[in-house]
Structures are given as C-alpha cells and as structure tokens.
C-alpha cells in the first residue's frame, strides 16, 4: 500500500526449523502482506531454531525487534494464546501472527455485508479456542468461591459460539441466494467462468482486459475480496466472468470454511481460469501453483481448469519457454497472456470457448397460448433459435444451455 500510515510500524519475525534452509519467499510474502495492511516495516528478523514454547522465537530476537520501537510485532509462525500472552506481558508490545494480519487486511477491505460477516466469522473461529485457553489460564489459580473469573468472563466463550452460529445461519441464507443467482444466470443462457489464483496474480487486471470494465486492480495482495462479475461474449456464447478473492499458502481450513459462499463462485463455475504470475521466479511460481491447486481442492472444484500464465510481457521468449517447460506437470498446456498489454487475450478467449461444454440442440413444442408466445420471445434472448415452424403447435429447434430449456415444461430432446 502506497499510503503507509506513519503510526503503523512493525517488525517482522519468522522462525524456521533448524533442519530446513531459510526460505526468503515467506518473509517477502509477509512483507507484502504487512505493506497491504498499511504497516511500515522497520526490520525483518529470522531465526533457525526449534519452537520456543514461551515466545515461539528466541527471547533475544524479540528483544532485538523491540529495540526498533515498533507498534506491533508480526510473526510469520502461528502463535498460541500462551505465546501471545507471554510476549505481550514480557515486552509490553502488541503482537499478531500472519493469519491475524490477513484478517486485518480483509477487515479493512470488506465492503459488502457478506464479506463483513465472513471476516467476522473467520476472526471468531480463530478467537474462540484462544478465549477458551485464556479463560483456562485465568482459572488456574482460582479457588472455589474465591477470586473466580466470574460469570461474565465465563460466558464470553459461549457468546462467541452463539454469534458464530448466528453468522453461519446468515451466511447460509446468502449462500442460497448465490446459488439461486447462479441458477438464474444459467437459465438466462450464460456460461459461468471464474477467475481463481494466488493473490496478486493479476486476476482483476485480466477481468478488466477481457471485459473492458474498470474494476479496482492494484499491485498488492487481496485487492479483491468480494466476487465481481462482468459479462462478455465469446464467439456468440454469452459468458459471465467472475473475479474472486485470491488464494494464499498455508491458509487455515476454517478461513476457507468462512469464505465458502464466496468460494462457491469458483467451485460452482462451468470453467475455472487459474491465473498465475509468470514473472515470479520458477520456485515461487511452482509453489504458488501448488498452493492454488490445494485451495481449488479445498473448494471442491470439479469443473475444467485452464491455467493462465499472466504478466509475460516482461520476460524474454527463452525464459518464458524454460519456465513453461519446468511447470509442465502442473500446467501442461497453459495460455500465456499479459493482461496489462493485451497480449494473448485472443488465444485465451478461443480456449475458453473450446473448454466450455458444447451447447445442446433441443426441439420443443409450444401450444398457441399467450404464455407460450412470451416463452418463445424469451428463448430468443436466452438461446440460439435454429428454426421455428408454425404447425399444429409451434415447433422450435434451438441450441442453448439445458437450464434455459428446462424452464419450459414441454422440453423435448430430439
């Protein structure tokens, strides 16, 4: 984020297991996330050490981080409630982990009611076990009837669970609305195509390039949080292209569960465009593709997937071919595009058209009633009418989606 808030300063900390080499990608990703949340990073501290039960990382490293006088300490590694308590108590500093940082970004970008509920559910899912653990810690020194935590604090955990159940119910309703909307769009003859991929891969830019719209697209993680849909026409087929929230490595399962209604836009699509950033070094590109495949698996995707390698404009042809060859097992036949330059978009459109299920041909008979005439009029919009003959009844031969035809009770396949 270009507009860093000067008050928001942070030091990034990461611990690696001694057996593994230091991974600069993780720290770079954490830096980007901190930037997206508006933090000014004062220093980055890494350590190879077995997990410290009290502080996650060595005490000396935290003291070193505190010497920069930051507002917050941001850990890459997940922190247990005990560790948060110990660090806050010993070093009088606010401390968050990577997951909380992601939630902070989500909370700042959530604009729709659905997104706000999803963020709240994710936060509560994260907080619930932490609160329970904190209560257990508090109760450790208590004696029956003397210096107890009290009924108010006792009920906090139950309040959280209650709120979570309420949000889940609301999200379920919204999920049904989304399902109905998708069904309605299919009945209108649209094919549903989703853009998925690692965060900051250029999904929104690709949506803009393909549809000529002006959705907000920035060079920062998690610019898009709520799905954005735009229409386009490819070789006579009407397609709705949906931009979705980006994936990230090591995403906790409950976050995916919280964002289920948003991710349904991917899992329920007719075709998924998996976008990856080709300008990344090979190892990172591979890792991001693997993380994206894992996220797609968690979403329950079973529709065809086209891998789109974006941002190829900055690469030489030899480098492009070398990378393409190396990731062949993950993306055997990718489409190379540059959404910002418009390179490869024609090929992508052609590939989308090829991978969409071919439209079926149907013959239906409609009686001469006012309702049938309105149905026929509607069919002109939702399907391609091949022939209309006026006999004892109206006989309509058409090509279109089965959902569009299923609306008519007299549907009859030849």
């Amino acid at each position: 984020m270009s507009q860093h808030d000067n008050d928001k300063t942070a030091v990034l900390l990461m611990r690696e297991n001694p057996g593994k080499p230091l991974d600069p990608f993780r720290m770079a990703e954490l830096r980007d996330l901190a930037g997206a949340a508006g933090y000014r990073v004062l220093a980055e501290i890494t350590q190879r050490k077995d997990r410290d039960h009290r502080f996650q990382i060595g005490r000396g490293k935290i003291a070193q981080a505190m010497s920069y006088n930051p507002k917050k300490l941001i850990f890459y590694n997940p922190l247990s409630p005990n560790q948060v308590f110990n660090i806050s108590a010993e070093f009088s500093s606010q401390v968050i982990d990577r997951f909380n940082l992601i939630l902070e970004i989500f909370a700042s970008r959530a604009s729709t009611r659905e997104a706000k509920l999803q963020v709240e559910l994710a936060k509560l899912s994260y907080d619930a076990p932490q609160v329970r653990s904190a209560l257990a810690l508090k109760k450790r020194g208590e004696q029956p009837g003397f210096r107890g935590a009290g009924a108010y604090e006792q009920s906090m955990y139950h309040d959280i669970r209650g709120r979570m159940a309420k949000i889940r119910m609301e999200l379920k309703d919204l999920e049904h609305i989304g399902e109905d909307r998708r069904q309605f769009r299919r009945e209108l003859g649209f094919d549903l195509v989703s853009l998925a991929g690692y965060t900051n891969a250029g999904k929104s830019t690709l949506l803009n390039a393909l549809t000529g719209s002006s959705v907000t697209a920035r060079d920062q993680p998690f610019t898009t949080l709520s799905p954005t849909t735009r229409a386009l026409e490819i070789k006579g087929r009407r397609v709705l292209l949906t931009d979705t929230v980006g994936f990230i490595d090591d995403l906790p399962h409950f976050l995916i569960k919280a964002f289920r209604s948003t991710l349904a836009e991917i899992s329920q699509a007719d075709l998924v465009l998996l976008v990856a950033d080709m300008s990344d070094p090979y190892e990172i590109l591979r890792r991001k593709l693997v993380a994206s495949h894992k996220a797609l698996w968690d979403c329950g995707v079973c529709s065809p997937v086209i891998t789109v390698l974006n941002k190829v404009d900055g690469l030489s042809k030899s480098e492009m071919l070398r990378k393409k060859e190396k990731i062949e097992d993950l993306a055997p036949n990718p489409v190379l595009v540059s959404a910002s330059c418009g390179q490869g978009l024609a090929e992508l459109s052609e590939r989308i058209c090829l991978r969409l299920l071919p439209l079926g041909e149907y013959q239906i008979r409609l009686p001469y009633t006012s309702q049938s005439l309105s149905q026929l009029s509607r069919l002109y919009e939702t399907a391609e009418l091949l022939q209309v003959s006026y006999e004892d009844e109206m006989v309509v031969r058409l090509r279109g989606r089965k959902e569009a035809v299923a609306r008519l009770k007299a549907a009859d396949r030849p």
Binding site: H293, K294, W297, V301, P304, D329, L330, A331, P332
Partner: protein, 117 residues
C-alpha cells in the same frame, strides 16, 4: 486386532493430468498385520504394495509422518512426492476410500450392518 495393527494399503496406479485422472491402470489392496505402526512398517508396506508398478509414488504427508520428501525417497528407494495437483489428490482420495473399505471387510467380514461402527 489381537494387540496388533490391522493395516491395509491400497494402491491406485493411474495416469493423471494436473486436473483429472486420465486412466486408472490398476488397483491393488495389500492387508498387513503389524506389531507397530512406525515409519518403517508404513514404508515396507508401501514398497510391497507398489512393487512392479512404474512411476512416482504419491502419498499424503500424514501417511509418512510428515517426513521430508528426500527422506521418504531414500527409505523407499524410488521416486516419491506429496500431492501437488488436483488429480493427484483425487487419486489419493480414491485410494483412501478403497483401503478403508478393504479394512472394514477384514474387520467385519460378511456383515452389512456393523461396518459403520
């Protein structure tokens, strides 16, 4: 079972593209009664089940106690990886279903009712 571990290893030999399983060549189920369920037992069982099958072994990291790939590779003595693509995960899911069904058949032979317990 009788103080021992009733283990069942299911192997799905398949040709995969990143998204879909293209073709399943064979499915093999190998039961094994073991004293312990340590890494060596799992590795031996996996080696025996994958014998004579070409290609790379793909298994979930939990099956090999989250050991690093190079370590599992050197124990098995052949190409090994954890799942990366959707198709590899689908194949593993398939193998899990088969092994679970095989184990139920061994533990509750000839009954239709008790297998859910």
């Amino acid at each position: 079972m009788q103080g021992k571990y009733q283990m069942v290893c299911a192997v799905v030999s398949a040709r995969v593209s990143p998204i879909f399983i293209e073709k399943i060549h064979s499915v093999r189920i190998v039961p094994h009664l073991a004293e312990t369920a340590d890494l060596n037992t799992v590795a031996d069982l996996t080696s025996a089940a994958c014998m004579c099958l070409p290609g790379t072994i793909v298994a979930e990291s939990g099956d090999f106690y989250n050991q690093e790939i190079w370590r599992v590779k050197s124990i098995l003595g052949r190409e090994f990886k954890y799942p990366e693509t959707l198709a590899e995960r689908t194949a593993i899911e398939l193998a899990h279903h088969i092994s679970l069904a095989g184990r139920r058949l061994i533990i509750h032979p000839g009954t239709d009712e008790d297998w859910t317990k």
